[in-house]
């Protein structure tokens, strides 16, 4: 398996924080190459690469770019989704803190491809360090003629603004993000119209995740065929960042060809924490239904995980060992979604709250098997019928708890084991 670092090539190379240092490593060559191509050719190359969105939904990037109308009197915008808020996800922060110009380059390439003269990088408010690094990289890019009225001497104009959010998961949803960018509450919009036609400030807009735009940079430089040669098949291509956390020895961001088996990921980060047994794992962030230890051989790509009833999502892998109380773990996620539901749509607003209440009852020791049965009936009514995917996301982990861990929960309920004692970590000197 190829171990070349593509997206992470500048991690631990602080000179890449400046335009000069970034260029010494071949940076901005992809942009120069793109500017020599017709915009349609750039889109075609990205389409042919099979690049799918790295933010969670896995939508084909080239197709998204091609939906933007070519002839329009309105300005067009690129919005970079840097609102990384999916619990368990921290890969985009790494990219922004260590290699801001890789992202800036990808944004300008996207701008050239669709004819947009402005990028807004919408970064979550809590990422103060990443925002400061990006701000400084953007200033450097202006000073070096990479941004501004004459990008690399091509005559193409591109401006870039780093825009900080203020703490709301829903602003990672693309139309919630647009509302927030416009200065409003981040409540998702009715679609259609889609952002490619009516997006930011009523104008055609492409919204791409940080890692997706970084991939575009490499596709332009090395070609669609190179990108396609990495991965599982033609629908799951390219290098991929996996953010691994929880009960593993060396949590962190790891780069692999997309479709790496879970077991390889686990081995690559030193295996299970303190040599304990694997119990369950979340393959793609808090929204992704949980997998059991017996699924450890699964390929971590879009289609394999979807076929297995889960999803690659943001590729945030949360590993849980044998000491984990599955109800407590799921309850934490349910609380998160209940807190983050924007409240517009009844099934999501009420459903996320009811899932939380029922899990709280079970976890507190006040619950019964009837609560578990009720939970199973609530779950199918939370997703699929709201303006955005938050409801779907919220029911994912709970559904997998009900589907895969009911026997364990029933047994614990009968034996009166809730609340299970929380494991203590530090008295064992674990973090010493």
């Amino acid at each position: 398996m190829s171990t070349e670092r593509v997206l992470m090539r500048n991690v631990g190379r602080p000179e890449a924080l400046t335009v000069r240092g970034y260029r010494e490593g071949g940076g901005y060559d992809a942009l120069a190459k793109a500017l020599r191509l017709q915009p349609e050719e750039v889109i075609e190359e990205v389409k042919r690469s099979g690049l799918r969105g790295r933010g969670g939904a896995g939508f084909p990037c080239g197709a998204k770019w091609s939906f933007v109308p070519r002839q329009t009197p309105k300005p067009k915008y690129i919005v970079c989704n840097a609102d990384e808020s999916e619990p368990g996800t921290f890969k985009d922060r790494l990219l922004m803190e260590h290699d801001p110009h890789q992202l800036i380059e990808g944004c300008i390439i996207a701008g050239w491809a669709v004819g947009a003269n402005t990028t807004y990088i919408y970064i979550r408010g809590e990422y103060t360090k990443a925002a400061a690094i990006l701000e400084s990289a953007v200033r450097d890019a202006y000073d070096s003629g990479v941004l501004g009225t004459n990008v690399l001497g091509s005559g193409f104009r591109h401006d870039m603004v780093v825009h900080r959010g203020a703490g709301a998961y829903i602003c990672g949803e693309e139309t919630g993000m647009l509302e927030s960018l416009e200065g409003k509450r981040g409540q998702p919009r009715v679609k259609p119209p889609f952002p490619a036609v009516v997006g930011a400030f009523g104008c055609p807009t492409v919204i791409n995740n940080v890692e997706t735009l970084c991939c575009a940079t490499h596709i332009l430089l090395r070609g669609a065929d190179w990108f396609k040669s990495i991965g599982t098949d033609e629908r799951n291509t390219g290098p991929k960042l996996y953010a691994i956390s929880g009960h593993v020895e060396r949590p962190g961001t790891y780069e692999y060809p997309i479709g790496v088996p879970f077991q390889t990921l686990l081995d690559g980060c030193g295996g299970m924490y303190r040599g304990r047994e694997l119990k369950a794992f979340i393959p793609g962030g808090a929204s992704a239904p949980m997998m059991k230890a017996s699924d450890r051989g699964i390929k971590m790509d879009f289609d394999t995980l979807a076929k297995a009833g889960s999803m690659l999502g943001s590729a945030a892998v949360i590993v849980m060992d044998e000491t984990t109380c599955m109800v407590r773990a799921t309850l934490r996620l349910a609380k998160f979604f209940a807190h983050e539901s924007c409240g517009q749509c009844t099934p999501c607003r009420e459903g996320t709250n009811w899932m939380k209440i029922l899990l709280q009852r079970i976890h507190s020791g006040q619950g019964s098997e009837a609560d578990l049965d009720l939970l199973a009936r609530v779950v199918p009514n939370v997703g699929g019928i709201s303006l955005c995917a938050l409801g779907d996301a919220a029911q994912g982990p709970v559904r997998s708890l009900v589907d895969k861990f009911s026997d364990e929960i029933r047994e614990n309920l009968r034996a009166g084991r809730y609340p299970t004692p929380a494991p203590r970590y530090f008295d064992q000197g674990a973090a010493a």
């Binding site: 808020s85 408010g125 809590e126 360090k129 900080r164 416009e182 200065g183 530090f426």
Partner: protein, 165 residues
């Protein structure tokens, strides 16, 4: 100076107003300045947004006060009650929970002697549980003001809290 700017200048320092107005060329609408303006106003108002600061932002951006107040209430990083000079956010989402954020939270509570969301009597600190801060590989972690503190133990976090002035 517009009447909105005059009204705002009675509440916000001149430098904050200038910082907000300097953002105008970056956006096609004035309303788009709402989030950055609130960040600036909050910083200039001791870390929280009294009604007067929300009104000042509304005047400055020529928006109804209710519109801006609605934005404030939507986002977790805007505060409408006084906060400590230092604000501690404790990530308690799943990855941190699995690695012991419960003990970190407990330690901070003991150390400060106040409940979550309350300010210590000397105005020094307040703490809240927070959703995932995107630092799961260094769990458990907290954010103090603008800085991340990672790979924490109860001993380490006690030391961090004690050093806050």
């Amino acid at each position: 100076m517009t009447s909105g700017q005059r009204a705002a200048s009675e509440v916000l320092p001149e430098s904050a107003i200038e910082e907000i107005l300097a953002l105008k060329p970056k956006y096609p609408t004035l309303e788009a300045l709402t989030l950055p303006a609130l960040h600036i106003a909050q910083r200039a108002s001791g870390g929280w947004l009294p009604e007067s600061a929300i009104e000042a932002v509304a005047h400055l951006l020529e928006l109804p006060v209710a519109r801006v107040a609605g934005v404030v209430s939507f986002y977790d990083m805007y505060h409408v009650r006084p906060v400590g000079r230092h604000r501690i956010r404790v990530c308690t989402n799943l990855s941190c929970q699995l690695r012991g954020s419960g003990e970190i939270l407990e330690t901070i509570g003991q150390e400060l002697g106040v409940d979550e969301g309350q300010v210590t009597s000397d105005g020094r600190c307040s703490f809240v549980q927070f959703e995932c801060l995107g630092s799961c590989d260094t769990a458990p972690m907290i954010m103090v003001d603008d800085d991340y503190h990672e790979n924490l133990t109860p001993e380490r976090v006690r030391q961090i809290v004690r050093e806050l002035k």
